[in-house]
Each structure stands twice: as structure tokens, then as C-alpha cells.
């Protein structure tokens, strides 16, 4: 429950984004494969750059900066949740969107950790419960 004030920060964030003047469209974003973003902007707007923020709000967050173009091609570096943010000349975020970057194949390290954690936890639960409930 710590940092409940994040709520208020989110409200402020929403209020700054409510006047967004651009929109973002993506198609099939996959790690390590060329992907495309379309940014729709008003005709007289001046945009400076686009950032792809991988795992936003986390300690593993990582940013990929791209020059602004209405139609962008780039290669996503990491799978997972990412945020596309469009900046104006004052380095203010004009619009942003959260996207999911697909895995390029099966992430074996993830499968191994999953199997390890699931086996340990389920086996531990099963064995200890069986012992505990023997007398019931």
C-alpha cells in the first residue's frame, strides 16, 4: 500500500495527457524483428523524438530513443510491456501508449524458472499437507 500518492500522480498524468494531440498505432511488435509504428499528428505540430520505454515503472526499465517520423520502423530490443512516448521540442510527452512486445520464440530461461518455482512450491505444499492431514 506504500506510495498511495501515486494515485494523485496518475490523476495529474491523465490530466496532462487529456489534451493529447497525436495517436499511435502499432502492428505485430516482436522482439528482434522489424516492427512498425504509425503516429498520427495534426499538420502544424512539431515533434522531436520517440522513445520506446521497455518495462516502464520497473527497476529493469530500459529506453530506446528514435528520431520522430510519422511512420517509424525499428527493431524492439526486449519482449514484454513497453511504452511508446512521443516528445515535442520542449521534451514534453505529447502522447503515449502501452504496448506488448511479443517474444521471439520460446524463452527457455523463463520456462526453466517457471518449472523450478512451480515444482518447488507445489511439491512442498503437497508433501507438507499430506503429512499434516494424515491424522485428520
Amino acid at each position: 500500500m506504500r506510495n498511495i500518492l501515486y494515485i494523485l500522480l496518475i490523476i495529474l498524468l491523465f490530466s496532462t495527457l487529456s489534451g493529447a494531440t497525436c495517436s499511435i498505432e502499432t502492428e505485430g511488435l516482436t522482439e528482434g524483428k522489424e516492427s512498425h509504428i504509425s503516429i498520427h499528428t495534426p499538420p502544424d505540430s512539431t515533434f522531436k523524438r520517440v522513445e520506446i520505454i521497455y518495462s516502464p515503472n520497473s527497476q529493469t526499465s530500459h529506453t530506446q530513443a528514435l528520431p520522430f517520423s510519422p511512420k517509424l520502423s525499428f527493431i524492439p530490443r526486449r519482449p514484454g510491456i513497453a511504452k511508446i512516448a512521443v516528445f515535442d521540442e520542449n521534451d514534453t510527452i505529447i502522447c503515449s501508449r502501452l504496448i506488448s512486445v511479443h517474444f521471439n520464440g520460446i524463452p527457455w530461461s523463463g520456462v526453466i524458472i517457471f518449472l523450478l518455482a512451480a515444482t518447488t512450491l507445489f511439491a512442498g505444499t503437497f508433501i507438507s499437507l499430506k503429512k499434516a492431514l494424515k491424522k485428520d
Binding site: 500500500m1 506504500r2 506510495n3 498511495i4 500518492l5 501515486y6 494515485i7 494523485l8 496518475i10 490523476i11 491523465f14 490530466s15 487529456s18 518495462s55 516502464p56 515503472n57 520497473s58 527497476q59 529493469t60 519482449p79 514484454g80 510491456i81 511504452k83 502501452l98 504496448i99 506488448s100 511479443h102 517474444f103 520460446i106 524463452p107 530461461s109 523463463g110 520456462v111 524458472i113 517457471f114 523450478l116 518455482a117 512451480a118 518447488t120 512450491l121 507445489f122 512442498g124 505444499t125 507438507s128 499437507l129 503429512k131 499434516a132 492431514l133 491424522k135 485428520d136
Partner: protein, 500 residues
């Protein structure tokens, strides 16, 4: 008066697991796992489970079974006045947590009712400058916390709790035997739904795929050790109280292992359910449990195919409510046991006192937003007060209670004595490693976690300065210190009742 006992081992295990499995398992663990590198978080998490969680839970259950009393009386028998004072400190500290926990549960209840309709539409909330387009969960949440109905929900949740613990283990056992297995079934339904959506499997992989580079950061280890401490409901006195209702020959070592594994397994499956939704609907969790519970998850569920939105909304908030209730009743039973054991007070009288004082306390946390919602916006009361007290009582108080308890049991009562007693009735035998953990490694770890937190306080007692009332953060700290340390001193000094 003869002390109540659990009717069955299954009832005891469901009660302790229900206490450990709370709102934090469903929303806080996934938020932490996301924040600390997905699968990489599991490595320090599992290490913390074995080296911190298991020994403390066995210790807390062990002293409860041996002395068959609530925490303050048990601690008095282990280490005299300072032990009893530690026990009362834990009880008073957890009573603050109980009060705002029930306020949060009343918001969950409000959201649960809204899943039947209004939650799936944005609502304008002028007091917070929300037009209704910002997010369905968020606007409904702010509408609820500023509504007078919240006060009725607070009273309703208190009544539900009091009814649930009315006859102690008798009623608690009946309730948890139904609610805890139901929570597992509900969570499995949520997992199945998440995994069968397009991209669901990738959500699962997102949770477990490690970013190992993060393991060199101290904050990740601190996060994992804190997570284990909080998720197992340690430092509250709950485990000691629940174990005090066990027969003398109970194998509490195995019980501790069962509860720990059940809790962490539930946490894992909750993580899977939440992560599948995060990936499918491209949602980035925030650091706050409140935003995960009330903003992010409802907005994710709102994107489910038509016809299933309401079903899964009801499912999710019912699950949260059940998880919250099984935890809050354990908090209340801990306080009741402490009072009746010390003062020999009749249970009904103790229940009435707890109900009246507790309801006023919970209303105190809910009321500011209802009376003047803008109080929360300018950082004066409401959520800010809840946040500051949560910071002291939850993030610091529980660790402090756990630390002193571990030192007193390890060094004053004697951990070897405890180990020998517990080994007599257990299928698993604790070795010397248990003594080393309780006497040295766990206190050092807890001192490090607490100490690093206190050092960070020097950069500002509370990072987000309240603007409405000057020095609110200092006043809240003074209140917490006075209430817990001052209160525990007075209670420990007081003479016990006839039946004590």
C-alpha cells in the same frame, strides 16, 4: 476457562493460510515481481522463503503452541516484561493496520457491488477533476471513497468480521473451510481465462523470464525479503495466537512448512493470473497495491469479451474481499486473545470494545475523503494519512516487532530449547542451522532492511510532503510511537485479571 481448540488440523491450516493469503498476495506480489525483473525476483524470493520466512513462522507457531496464550502473555512467559511489551507493541501496531485494512476492504466491497453495472462506465468525479474518461476503475474508485455509502460499507465489513469471530475458532473454522478453498478455485478460473486468451502464455513467460542483471541490486534482495516477511503475516502475532489453539502434540514445524508453501504457491498462481492480463491488455503495473486493485485490474477486465466482463469483475472483487476477510478476522482474533488472556475479560465484552474502537478507527480513515474530498488532493488527510501510518505501522512496525521477537526468543528464551521442544512432536527435525538463523542471520537481515529504510528517512521524513497541515508527517510519527511504544509499556505494566 478452558481454552478453545481447533476441531481439525484442516481447519487450522485453512485459518493460518487464509490469514497469510491477503490482498497483498493478489496485487502486491505481481507488482513487486514486475518491478524487480520478473523471473529473477524468484531467486531471492525462494531464498528468503527458506531462510527467513520458514524459520520465523515455525518460531511464532512454536511459542504459541507451547504456551497456549495470545502474543503478549506468551512473550511474557518467554522473556518477562520486555517480552510482554514486545507482544503488546505488535498487537497495538497491528490494530492500526487492521483499522485501515478494513477501510480498504470497505472500498473493495463498494467496487464489488459496482461490478454489477456502474463499474464498466466512467463516472465524473468533480472533486478530483475527473471527467469520467480517465479510466473506469479509477473514476469509480474515487466516486466510492468520496461517497457516504463508504461509511455504511465500513460498518458492514466490521459487522461481518465480528460475526466471523463471534465464537472464536468455532466460527472462524467454519468460514475459512469454505472461503480458502473457494479462493483457490476462483484463482484457477482466472488463470484459465488468462492463459486461454491470445498472448496469455506470453504473460506467463513475462512473469518468469528473468533479467538476471538485476540480482546485483541490493534493493531487489531487500524487496524479496520484505515481501516474504509481509506475505506470511509475520510480526502481527497471528501465528502465535492461532497456534495457541492447537493441541499440545501438534507438529508445528510441518504446519509452518504447509502454511508457507500454500501461501507462496497461491502467490505464484495469482502472479500468473495477473501477468496474463497485463500482457494481453498491455498494462504496466504501478508500485501501489491500491492502483493495481482498483484501477489496473478493473480496466483490464473491462476489455474482456462482452458477456464475460461482469462475471470476471464479480469473480475478481469477490476474491479480493474473501482474501481480505480471512486476513482481517485473524488480526481481530489476535487482539481479542491478547485482551482476554491478559485481563480475563469475557469474550463478548472484548468483542464489543474492539468493534466500537475499531469501527471508529476505520471511519477515521474513510471519513476525510467523504466530508471533503479535496482534503486528499491537497495532501492533508484521507489517503495521505493512511499512507503515512501504513509507512510506519506496516513497513517498519512489523519488521521491528519481528526483529525484537526473534532476538528475545533466540537469546533470552533460548532457541535451542525451543528447537528441542518442537522436535519432540515433529516429523521433520530442525538442526543447528535453525539456531544460527534465529540468533544471527535473521536479526542481521531484519536490522539491515529496517536500517536502510531509516537511513532513507533522513532525505525527508516522508517523501511526498503534505501541504494542508504543517508537520503532519511528524505528528503521525509521534502518534504511532506514542500509541505503540507508550501503549505497550502501559499495558505490560497493568495487572492481569483473575482468569489470566
Amino acid at each position: 476457562m478452558r481454552r478453545a481448540v481447533w476441531k481439525s488440523k484442516f481447519g487450522f491450516l485453512m485459518a493460518t493460510a487464509g490469514s497469510a493469503i491477503g490482498l497483498g498476495n493478489i496485487v502486491f506480489f505481481p507488482a513487486n515481481a514486475y518491478k524487480f525483473g520478473g523471473g529473477a525476483f524468484y531467486i531471492p524470493y525462494l531464498i528468503a522463503m527458506v531462510f527467513l520466512g520458514l524459520p520465523i513462522i515455525v518460531m511464532e507457531l512454536g511459542i504459541g503452541r507451547i504456551f497456549a496464550k495470545g502474543l503478549p502473555e506468551t512473550m511474557r512467559k518467554t522473556s518477562g516484561f520486555k517480552g510482554e511489551m514486545t507482544g503488546w507493541f505488535a498487537i497495538l501496531n497491528s490494530s492500526i493496520i487492521t483499522m485501515y485494512y478494513i477501510t480498504i476492504l470497505s472500498w473493495v466491497l463498494g467496487m464489488l457491488f459496482r461490478t454489477l453495472g456502474p463499474l464498466w462506465h466512467g463516472i465524473p468525479v468533480p472533486a478530483f477533476n475527473l471527467t469520467g474518461t480517465e479510466g473506469k476503475g479509477m473514476t469509480n474508485f474515487f466516486d466510492i471513497i468520496t461517497s457516504y455509502k463508504t461509511l455504511l460499507f465500513v460498518v458492514a465489513v466490521w459487522i461481518i468480521n465480528i460475526v466471523a469471530i463471534w465464537k472464536g475458532t468455532k466460527t472462524i473454522e467454519k468460514i475459512v473451510k469454505v472461503l480458502v478453498p473457494t479462493m483457490w478455485v476462483m484463482m484457477l478460473v482466472l488463470i484459465l481465462r488468462g492463459l486461454t486468451m491470445k498472448g496469455g502464455f506470453e504473460g506467463l513467460m513475462l512473469l518468469f523470464t528473468p533479467d538476471l542483471s538485476i540480482l546485483s541490486q541490493v534493493s531487489v534482495w531487500k524487496g524479496a525479503f520484505s515481501q516474504i516477511f509481509f506475505t506470511l503475516s509475520l510480526g502481527f502475532g497471528i501465528m502465535t495466537t492461532y497456534a495457541s489453539y492447537l493441541p499440545k502434540d501438534s507438529d508445528v514445524i510441518n504446519d509452518g512448512i504447509s502454511v508457507t508453501f500454500m501461501n507462496c504457491t497461491f502467490e505464484m498462481i495469482a502472479g500468473i493470473a495477473i501477468f496474463t492480463l497485463l500482457f494481453v491488455f498491455s498494462i504496466a503495473p504501478q508500485a501501489s497495491s491500491i492502483s493495481m486493485m482498483f484501477f489496473i485490474m478493473p480496466d483490464g477486465i473491462a476489455q474482456f469479451p462482452d458477456g464475460t466482463v461482469m462475471i470476471f469483475g464479480v469473480l475478481f472483487f469477490s476474491l479480493l474481499f474473501m482474501a481480505g476477510i480471512t486476513s482481517s478476522i485473524s488480526l481481530l482474533e489476535t487482539a481479542i486473545a491478547a485482551i482476554t488472556d491478559k485481563f480475563g475479560m469475557a469474550r463478548n465484552r472484548a468483542l464489543l470494545i474492539i468493534f466500537v474502537v475499531g469501527t471508529i478507527g476505520s471511519l477515521f480513515f474513510a471519513l476525510p475523503n467523504v466530508i471533503d474530498p479535496k482534503l486528499a488532493v491537497d495532501g492533508t488527510l484521507g489517503l495521505t494519512l493512511l499512507d503515512i501510518l501504513d509507512h510506519w505501522a506496516f513497513s517498519n512496525g512489523l519488521l521491528l516487532a519481528g526483529l525484537i521477537e526473534t532476538i528475545l526468543i533466540g537469546w533470552v528464551f533460548g532457541v535451542t530449547k525451543l528447537r528441542n521442544i518442537l522436535n519432540e512432536t515433529s516429523a521433520w527435525h530442525l538442526g543447528v542451522w535453525f539456531d544460527i538463523l534465529i540468533k544471527y542471520l535473521i536479526p542481521i537481515t531484519l536490522i539491515f532492511i529496517l536500517g536502510s529504510g531509516i537511513i532513507s528517512e533522513f532525505s525527508g521524513l516522508y517523501p511526498n510532503k503534505p501541504t494542508g497541515v504543517h508537520y503532519l508527517e511528524y505528528m503521525a510519527l509521534a502518534f504511532w510511537l506514542l500509541f505503540t511504544i507508550g501503549g505497550s509499556f502501559v499495558l505490560a505494566k497493568m495487572k492481569g485479571g483473575e482468569n489470566a
